[in-house]
């Protein structure tokens, strides 16, 4: 047995030495004996005039955030199929090329280098989390590749360059919505903020504290910084109880918000908990169990919407999805982004990147998650509603009720 192992090993080493040192002057990069097909980037670069319009869809298909990656890929495919069904875009079929960035910053940059090398790719839909988008954006900017990020919300992301756009929910919008909801709709007096110590959490917590102070100066805000990875929130709950907090805003993903809410509600059952769009996920309900009743989330879309495009999307998603999860706001972002780009290409009638970028500046696209219109620094401001759960059913509250 050991002999075969070592032969296998030496073989692997030989292949890895050969494949990764593409420096043999003879064979081009896609050396014949590289075993698995290398990323398509190795295909000879030809002008964008191929018979399909290629869009790169990037996300964490493996690793810690793999659960989201699948949803992104399927939602993007639904939009692509929708366009291909009625004649494609500019008469050409839409082809989505999926890349996996493993949810690690270094990988993000690696994948970006691969995408940028393939001239036939028209635009990039992607990078999910902020640290990856920040790592990849300079590479796209350097090579003039159009990047539209559906979800990354790092404050100075679009500042990296004029090729970097985003459709993601803006921290400022969500912070304003949640602050107004908590101050006006609930009239909270003492607000606790559970802040997950990453760039998104820190930003949104700061903005919310300012909004709350501006709306009602005598609201008292207590902040608790936490780190993902350990599930013990004993001291944080103790601090909130000591401060006599009546409402808690979770500036965190569901992986932190769910266990916290559970432990908080054990200590004080009537505590009001509100979170943001990234907690509007099925696992939140599953983890919270019966304590998920009246857990509030700010979001711009919900599967319970009655409009016909939502029905179409949910129905297509259910068909495609093996482990029947309900789609979440972030999936819809990928869906809308693909739609937005294809619409921009159709409007400007060509796959030339400059033309598309110019079109993006003035396009108004009615997506599922609201009317997408880019402002001068390439963001998409939107207004948000709130949704809350009751017996695992979402109920929507239009934001007109508390926005007065």
């Amino acid at each position: 047995m050991k002999k075969t192992l070592s032969i296998l090993l030496v073989l692997v080493m030989a292949i890895s030495l050969v494949a990764c040192q593409p420096a043999q002057p003879a064979a081009p990069a896609a050396s014949a004996d590289a075993p698995a097909a290398d990323a398509p980037a190795a295909a000879p670069a030809e002008a964008g005039a191929s018979d399909t319009i290629k869009l790169a869809v990037v996300g964490p298909m493996t690793g810690q955030d793999a659960e989201y990656g699948l949803g992104f890929r399927q939602s993007a495919q639904i939009m692509a199929d929708k366009w291909n069904a009625n004649g494609g875009c500019l008469g050409k079929q839409v082809e989505l090329v999926v890349f996996d960035d493993k949810g690690a910053p270094e990988e993000g940059a690696n994948v970006a280098e691969q995408i940028v090398a393939d001239e036939s790719i028209v635009a990039v839909v992607g990078h999910f989390s902020s640290s990856l988008s920040m790592a990849a954006a300079p590479i796209y900017q350097e090579h003039g590749m159009l990047e539209i990020s559906p979800c990354s919300s790092h404050a100075d992301y679009t500042g990296i360059g004029d090729w970097i756009w985003r459709v993601s929910p803006l921290s400022a919008d969500e912070a304003r919505t949640v602050s107004k909801f908590v101050a006006n709709y609930w009239g909270a007096k003492k607000v606790g903020q559970l802040v997950m110590n990453n760039d998104w959490g820190a930003d949104i917590a700061e903005l919310e504290a300012e909004f709350l102070k501006s709306i009602n100066p005598d609201i008292e805000v207590v902040q608790e910084l936490v780190v993902e990875g350990n599930d013990d929130y004993g001291p944080v709950v103790t601090n909130f109880m000591a401060a006599g907090v009546d409402t808690v805003i979770c500036d965190a993903t569901y992986t932190v918000a769910a266990p916290f809410a559970k432990q908080m509600r054990l200590a004080n059952p009537e505590i009001r908990v509100v979170a943001h769009g990234n907690c509007q996920v099925e696992q939140l309900i599953e983890v919270l169990g019966d304590q998920s009743n009246n857990f509030y989330c700010s979001c711009s879309w919900s599967p319970i919407f009655s409009d016909e495009e939502t029905k179409f999307y949910c129905e297509k998603y259910a068909e495609m999805d093996a482990n029947d999860t309900t789609p979440i706001g972030d999936f819809v972002q990928y869906y809308d982004t693909v739609g937005l780009i294809l619409q921009a290409i159709t409007n400007c009638g060509s796959t030339d990147r400059e033309a598309i970028r110019a079109e993006l500046a003035k396009i108004e696209y009615q997506g599922l998650s609201g009317l997408l219109k880019f402002d001068e620094n390439r963001d998409c401001p939107r207004d948000y509603g709130m949704v809350y759960w009751d017996q695992a059913q979402q109920t929507w509250i239009q934001n007109t009720e508390w926005n007065s």
Partner: protein, 295 residues
């Protein structure tokens, strides 16, 4: 103010117990083979997830803990057979055992991610008796009491097995000197495998208890916990089970106090700061045997 401080201490003690329980696995294997099992965090997560899997199949929680206990013990024995025994036979450098166990940890964790998905899963507390008693003004929930009872009991059982039983004597003999133990007719390989099984069993039980206490379990729960419990095991003196208990409580209480006062974002570093400070004064931990340099 002092009531919140007391609450921190109560949380800290419970947290300390959890750390001591998981640290048991490290001490067991270190005491017999002088190696640190870096796959312990993933195996601990494996224990939690398998228990959840059996509970979801409708099996009574306690029975599913038992089944998982055996399964995890076998997983740990497999690790010994695949990674550690070949290296031990060739008495290769300690570092290669470390890399082998680290590799095993990657394999186990990523197989869990593939099988169970990387998301968080709900884990119903199967040992919640529903009552809460108050000592003075402090509410102590039943889950905390049961956790205290089970982990305390398990620790006592472990120390009893190691110190009082015949098998324990054999384990201690192998600890001291494998060759002479073998000469005395002790089947060293069986004892070593048995110790791995014991370590796997403690990992499974602690996995199920902790997942039940926090009512959440996911494949990567072992990463941070693995590091902290390593610090606990070392603080107590690797190889000394009871040391782990005291070490765990010290780290747990300090961590909760720091998390409460300075902020929970510093808590991951507390266990190691405490460890380094104590190791400066006692290089082999609180109870570790101080080996005198014999020339």
């Amino acid at each position: 103010m002092n009531s919140t401080f007391l609450l921190y201490i109560v949380d800290g003690v419970v947290l300390g117990l959890i750390y001591a329980l998981v640290a048991c696995g490290y001490s067991l294997i270190f005491s017999i083979l002088r190696i640190v099992n870096f796959a312990h965090g993933s195996i601990y997560a494996f224990g939690a997830l398998m228990t959840l899997f059996f509970i979801n199949q409708g099996i009574n929680p306690w029975l599913s803990v038992l089944i998982t206990l055996i399964l995890t013990g076998m997983l740990e024995m497999l690790m010994d057979k695949v990674c550690i025994e070949p290296l031990r036979k060739r008495n290769s450098p300690g570092v290669s055992t470390l890399i082998a166990t680290e590799g095993y940890s990657y394999v186990v964790m990523n197989m869990l991610i593939i099988l169970f998905g990387s998301g968080r899963n709900h884990f119903e507390t199967f040992y919640d008796l529903g009552f809460t008693i108050n000592i003075g003004s402090l509410p102590i929930s039943s889950t905390k009491l049961v956790l205290l009872a089970i982990s305390g009991g398990l620790m006592l059982l472990m120390t009893y097995i190691i110190n009082k039983t015949h098998v324990g004597l054999a384990i201690r003999a192998v600890q001291q000197n494998t060759t002479s133990a073998r000469l005395m007719g002790i089947k060293v390989n069986r004892i070593v495998l048995g110790t791995f099984f014991l370590a796997g069993a403690t990992a499974a039980v602690s996995g199920a208890l902790v997942a039940g206490y926090y009512q959440i379990c996911y494949p990567t729960m072992g990463m941070v916990m693995g590091n902290k419990t390593l610090a606990t095991a070392l603080l107590g003196g690797l190889g000394a089970m009871h040391g782990g208990l005291l070490g765990g409580i010290i780290i747990g209480v300090l961590e909760c106090i720091v998390a409460g006062t300075l902020g929970a974002t510093y808590r991951d570093a507390v266990s190691f700061v405490v460890l380094i400070v104590i190791l400066i004064f006692m290089p082999s931990g609180l109870f570790g045997k101080k080996d005198i340099t014999k020339v």
